[in-house]
C-alpha cells in the first residue's frame, strides 16, 4: 500500500514538473502586424471627369502651373 502511494506521489510529481516546465518554453508572443487592405468603395482619379476626361497630362500641367503660382519670387519678377 505504501509502495503504491509512493509511486502515485512520484508520478504526480513528475506530471507536475513536466507541466510546470512546459510553461518555460520561449515562444514569440508578438502579434505579427498585417497591413490592412482598403475595404471601401473605389475612388476615381481627379482627372477622370470633365474637363480633363482622363487626360492625366493636361491635369498635371494645370496643377503644376497653379503650383508655381505660389512662388511669388517667380510670379512677381
Amino acid at each position: 500500500m505504501r509502495r503504491l502511494l509512493v509511486t502515485l506521489a512520484a508520478a504526480s510529481l513528475a506530471v507536475a514538473l513536466g507541466a510546470g516546465l512546459a510553461g518555460c518554453g520561449e515562444r514569440p508572443q508578438v502579434v505579427q502586424y498585417k497591413q490592412g487592405k482598403y475595404q471601401g468603395k473605389p475612388d476615381e482619379p481627379p482627372y477622370a471627369t470633365a474637363p480633363w476626361n482622363g487626360n492625366k497630362e493636361a491635369w498635371e500641367q494645370a496643377l503644376t502651373a497653379r503650383n508655381q503660382n505660389q512662388n511669388e519670387y517667380k510670379r512677381v519678377r
Binding site: 475595404q39 481627379p46 477622370a48
Partner: protein
C-alpha cells in the same frame, strides 16, 4: 506627378487663420470640426511662431495602420482619404495621428461621435467627382477642377504651400536662399535637398550655419 504635400513656413505665418476660414467655407464644415487650425508656439512672447496644421497626408500614415475597418486609402498622388460609409467613428485614428487631424462631429446626445472627418487635400472622397454626395460627405473636390487646396491658395502671405512636394521644396528653397534664413525651420534637406547643391561647398546663396555656407548672412538676414 509626385506626392501631394503641405508645407507651412513659420517665418511667414501671421496667425490670421485665413486658411482655417477658407477650409471651413469651402467645404461647408459643421460647427465643432476643424480640418485645419493654426498652432502658435510661445504665444505672446516676442519671437512667437505660428504654423498651420492639418492632415499631413503621411507617406506611411498611422491612421491607415490602426483603422479596424480599413476605410483609409491613398490616392496615386499620395493623398490620404477615407470612406465615410465604412467608418465606424471608433477614434483609433485620432489617437494614432501625431497631428490631431481626424475630427469627430458630435452626432447625438451624450457626446456620441459621428464619422471621422479630416482634411482631404481638397480631393473629395470615394464618390463621383464633384457630385453632391461627394460634397456632402467630403467637401469640394478642387483637385478634380485643376485647383490646389483652398487653404494654401487663400494664404495671404503664402506661408502655407500646398501641392506637389517636389515643387514645394523648390519654392521653399528659392525663398530661403532669397531671404537668407529659414532653412533651419524645415531642415537642410528640405531647403537644399538637391544632392548636387548640398554636396558642393560654398554654394552661392547657401544659408548660414549650413555646410559650405558663407560665414556672414546676407543683408537683412538677422532680422526675424
Amino acid at each position: 506627378m509626385a506626392r501631394m504635400k503641405f508645407l507651412c513656413d513659420a517665418e511667414r505665418c501671421i496667425e490670421c487663420n485665413g486658411c482655417v476660414t477658407a477650409c471651413k467655407q469651402e467645404h461647408d464644415i459643421p460647427w465643432g470640426v476643424n480640418r485645419r487650425r493654426v498652432v502658435t508656439i510661445n504665444d505672446g512672447v516676442p519671437g512667437e511662431r505660428s504654423i498651420s496644421v492639418a492632415c499631413m497626408h503621411c507617406s506611411d500614415a498611422p491612421c491607415m495602420a490602426v483603422c479596424p475597418v480599413d476605410c483609409f486609402y491613398k490616392t496615386e498622388n499620395g493623398v490620404v482619404l477615407h470612406d465615410k460609409d465604412l467608418c465606424i467613428g471608433c477614434g483609433y485614428c485620432f489617437y494614432a495621428c501625431p497631428f490631431g487631424a481626424p475630427q469627430f462631429p458630435q452626432a447625438g446626445a451624450f457626446g456620441v461621435r459621428g464619422k471621422m472627418d479630416k482634411c482631404t487635400f481638397c480631393a473629395g472622397g470615394p464618390e463621383p467627382n464633384n457630385s453632391e454626395a461627394e460634397f456632402k460627405k467630403y467637401g469640394r473636390n478642387r483637385l478634380a477642377e485643376g485647383k490646389l487646396p483652398a487653404c494654401a491658395e487663400m494664404c495671404s502671405t503664402k506661408a502655407l504651400l500646398g501641392g506637389d512636394g517636389d515643387v514645394l521644396a523648390e519654392i521653399y528653397r528659392t525663398r530661403v536662399t532669397s531671404r537668407g534664413r529659414g532653412s533651419e525651420v524645415w531642415g537642410w534637406a528640405t531647403a537644399y535637398g538637391r544632392p548636387d547643391q548640398s554636396k558642393q561647398p560654398g554654394v552661392p546663396g547657401a544659408a548660414p550655419g549650413a555646410p559650405g555656407a558663407p560665414a556672414t548672412p546676407p543683408p537683412g538676414g538677422s532680422k526675424s
